[in-house]
């Protein structure tokens, strides 16, 4: 029996989720490509608690049902995230596609998820019995595999408040609009008084999950730009090791070359 529900409060949604499981539906931009006739949906786009954007002392918090257009229009959205959202598909998709769906679909090509990865964001997962916070990196278990329990809903994505001004973002697609990433790369370098306070990179559309080689990026943290320059070859060699593209529509060698070129450019523009 096909049954769907469109609750207007989170409490109601969690109750329905626990009782019936259901397929979580916010924008429908991925789900409706398949448009399974026998799908039972739990529509989440009418729940105000999932549409909020706010900040506290530690985080900027985005409700999971926020659309890409919501993020582009909001003053709290960091520039790197606005830029990535602005390159997703086209207005009609950005108007309904949501960040919760982008993450929950589990694709390594998800463009907003790449930014949430490079910023070491957390997801807040809620169920009737409580809630838990998980680093997004731990939320992805594998291709299309998530650490989401059958009674849970992604409620929020939390970006730690940090200096994101000096960022590098490139999406490589076959065209400007309506393009699925062939490779996407995001890098953040926080340099103060000549010292790298924080370095972070993430690679989309390469592996089963978005790659976030934090242990390699740590090589550059705490270093002066001159010291970092001396480490450049070692750093690139380490990145080269972790970029192991899975087979896809776009060639493996091409994607690997593009990734490494983008990292080189990220270092070049920062004088490393």
């Amino acid at each position: 029996m096909v049954k769907s529900f469109a609750p207007t409060t989170l409490a109601e949604a969690l109750k329905l989720r626990k009782a019936h499981g259901l397929t979580l539906y916010t924008g429908g931009t991925d789900l409706m490509v398949e448009a399974k006739e026998d799908a039972s949906y739990l529509f989440l786009h009418k729940i105000p608690e999932l549409k909020e954007i706010k900040q506290d002392a530690q985080y900027i918090r985005f409700g999971a049902a926020c659309t890409f257009s919501d993020l582009i229009d909001h003053p709290l959205t960091p520039k790197i995230l606005k830029e990535a959202c602005g390159q997703i598909a086209a207005p009609a998709i950005r108007n309904i596609g949501s960040i919760g769906g982008n993450i929950g679909n589990g694709s390594p090509k998800a463009d907003s998820a790449l930014i949430f990865m490079v910023t070491d964001s957390l997801v807040r997962l809620v169920c009737e019995d409580g809630e838990r916070m998980l680093p997004l990196k731990e939320f992805y278990l594998g291709r299309k595999k998530l650490a989401l329990r059958r009674d849970e809903i992604i409620a929020e994505v939390l970006i730690p408040r940090q200096n994101l001004d000096n960022y590098y973002y490139t999406k490589v697609g076959a065209r400007n609009a309506l393009a699925i990433s062939r490779v996407a790369f995001a890098g953040i370098l926080d340099v103060r008084d000549g010292v790298i306070r924080h370095c972070a990179t993430a690679f989309g559309a390469v592996s089963d999950v978005i790659l976030r080689p934090a242990e390699i990026d740590a090589m550059l943290t705490g270093k002066t730009l001159t010291q970092a320059k001396a480490l450049r070859q070692d750093y690139l060699a380490a990145i080269d090791q972790v970029i192991v593209p899975i087979r896809g529509r776009v060639g493996v060698e091409y994607r690997k070359d593009v990734c490494l070129n983008l990292v080189r450019d990220f270092l070049d523009v920062n004088g490393i």
Binding site: V2, K3, S4, A6, Y25, G27, G28, T29, L31, M32, V33, A35, K36, E37, D38, A39, S40, Y41, F43, H45, K46, S69, A89, A90, P91, A92, I93, N95, I96, N176, A177, L178
Partner: protein, 155 residues
């Protein structure tokens, strides 16, 4: 059962909540102004306006529409704004085969209602999800620009 507003009239839908809005509009309600191009959100031919926002109707499940306001080209054509766009599209011969035009016109409406005086780049961005396989983008962009100028005050 979902109840929503379609072109200013309340409608009741008792079919599957997983059904596509596009299929219901065309198949069940014979509103064929909304075109079906790709069924995966990549062409914009099926664009409608839902709660003021341009949306591809192929990607909308019927069950998500409870309480929504939906405008298709059939409803929009009754407006003064449509008349301004219609006149401009005609003036510059922006319509070739015509298949993409209902979506283009609704994309233009959403663009102009948010930004009544768009630059050429902003027009291109506004219709970036609408594909014209006659490749007649130049005249379409010109027509939207002309409608914005000659219909000044409508948006």
């Amino acid at each position: 059962m979902s109840v929503f507003n379609l072109n200013g009239k309340e409608v009741n839908y008792a079919g599957s909540p997983a059904g596509r809005l596009l299929d219901v509009l065309r198949g069940e309600w014979q509103m064929t102004g909304t075109k079906c191009g790709c069924k995966e959100g990549e062409c914009g031919a099926c664009a409608v306006i839902i709660d003021g926002k341009l949306t591809n109707s192929c990607l909308v499940a019927m069950g998500s529409l409870e309480g929504a306001n939906v405008t298709t080209i059939e409803g929009y054509r009754e407006t003064q704004r449509f008349a301004a766009l219609d006149k401009a599209f005609e003036a510059v011969s922006a319509v070739q085969c015509g298949f993409c035009i209902p979506g283009m016109v609704l994309a233009a409406e959403c663009l102009l209602s948010a930004n009544p005086h768009p630059t050429e780049d902003e027009i291109r961005e506004g219709i970036s999800g609408n594909i014209c396989r006659c490749t007649g983008y130049g005249p379409i962009i010109k027509a939207i620009d002309m409608a914005a100028k000659e219909g000044d005050g409508l948006w």
